[in-house]
Amino acid sequence: MTTTLDKPLPAPDSARSLLDAVFRARELSIGGALVLLILCTWLTNHGFLDDQGIKDLLLNSSILVLLAVGQSVVVITRNIDLSVGSVTGLTAFACGHFVSGTDHSAVTVVLLGLGLGVVCGLVSGALVSFGRVPALVVTLGMLYVVQGVDQAWAHGEQINAVNVPDGVLSLGTGSVLGIPYLPLISAAVLAGTAYYLRSYRSGRELYAIGSSPEAARLAGIPVRRRILGAYAFSGAVAGFAGALWLARFGTVVADAANGWELTVVSAVVVGGVAITGGTGAVWGAALGALLLTTIGSALVVLKVDSFWQQAITGVLLLAAITTDRIVQVRTTSALRKRSRR
């Protein structure tokens, strides 16, 4: 195709780098808020950033980071998975039930969790993609079903750390070079997912689906298969998180991780992944998860009255999404002005 243009197009490189900068800035602002929060807290209480403090911060956030990565892959396709909290709880209990009193290794537990999670994810995904049913309704239904199965199975019992084999528990407590395993695992999953979304054709197609499902379909993208894949991934991550939950806490009650779905969605939204699909990066979502966890820890360290903590979290959450939106509107209008010239 050789079309001559009256005006030369702006050099694609400069446009792309500007856009890149804008997108980077969106996640950078969350990172900035995180750094500021940590700095302020550290200035008030130096114990916040000693070895144990950092370790706690990383440990506390790693499961949420993991779930946020899985959720953002689904949200990018303009869908949502509300069942992640209950799937995590179910797999944590199932894994605990399976290994109680045995000497199974950590690998078996992780595989079991992954398998169970994938099954749950595939059910939701099949209903959403092939049943063409609104994702919120399906995954809300799945939330109830999985939660009910979990509670009916557990029936008030709980898994105790004494019965969980040491090999599994060491996954939650062990560390390499002073860094605990859990954050390393989360970071690895994060890096892998970010690389996939950025560099693989099928990863980019998820963004296309989220921007315009109809256009994606007409462009020949296998929309249903991609959405099914996104849900399978989210389920797998939730199952993995369940296995790690068991390894970390040892004790699992039936309603473990109940209600986490909204925290995970908050993390994703704060991290700049638009709930309307098509934009955002998983590491933004991970930063969002880290920010939410850090707010919680900081409020404890700053000795804020515990009754105030949730309200402050709510205000900061609203402030974060509002700021993000305002920045977005400003940059869009700035870009439009620029291109008009």
């Binding site: 049913v133 908050s266 959450l317």
Partner: protein, 342 residues
Amino acid sequence: MTTLTKYVRWDTVVTVLLVAVFLAGAGTTDGFADTSNLSAALDDTAEIALIALPMTLLVVAGQVDLSVASMLGLSSALAGALWDAGWTFELIVPVCLLVGAAGGVLNGWLVTRIGLPSLAVTIGTLTLYRGLASVVLGDKAVADFPDAYAKWAAYTRTVPGTFVPYPVALFIVFAVITAVVLHCTGFGRSLFAIGAQEDAAYFAGIRVKRIKIALFAVSGLVASFAGIVYTLRYGSARADNGIGLELTVIASVLLGGVDFDGGKGTLGGAVAGVLLIGLLGNLLTLNDVSNEVQVIVTGLLLIASVLTPRVISAVSERRSTPDQLTPGQLPDQTRLERPSTS
């Protein structure tokens, strides 16, 4: 088949299901159809039913309010704290309602002025309002409400001559008003228009932003009212009252055939959805079915409720289309080319 799907609407199916559950319960379970049990069953769904009314309007307009259960908790906590401080109930109720409306306006303001999606906004205010509830009352429980007030919410006291408890009677009045507003007024039609195509509604002269703020305000107001009913019904004001209730409300509305994408649904369907979940829960409890199984049944019902109509329409479409669609063909084109069967 196409004529069948045209006349059998999902809200009709839910109503039939509701009647079926009622008849099955009356036939198999002693005491289910007793007026005292029905009063209790209805009373148990009072808060969910009340909140479901404005939620239906919101979902029809393509919005959602996840903060309702937190507002219920905040209103309950506030009522408890003010009662503890020696206020009279006649003063507490308007203050709570005012706080509820203000919370709703905040939701609406963030959605319309900042342009945020309502799902994101109300997840934020869900956290905020629940947090404020614990700020107001801490982990205390205020339970020394006088019987005179508590009786109004209890299922044992009913509207004279009927088995309808007062909160349910109020719900019936509100439901009729809401149904008339949604289905018989221009305002109601504009909600469908906003839900179907917001931009088109705006250019058609509908004051989209103002309407949305009003809807969120009413949603907050009703949620805070439900908080007072909840407090009196259980005789206990706590900051964690009604935790997680928002999902049950949304499940009921969606079960009633209100489309989450907006623009479709009936109030009758939503009310049938609320009653179906309520009666089914009561019936299962009477039959000693555990709470866990009830949760599973709710979930399966919800999934089935959205899946069944699509399966039916997919099957009927396949039957009425003479030859297979060629891949890549636009569905819209086929719809135009297909000879009309009606």
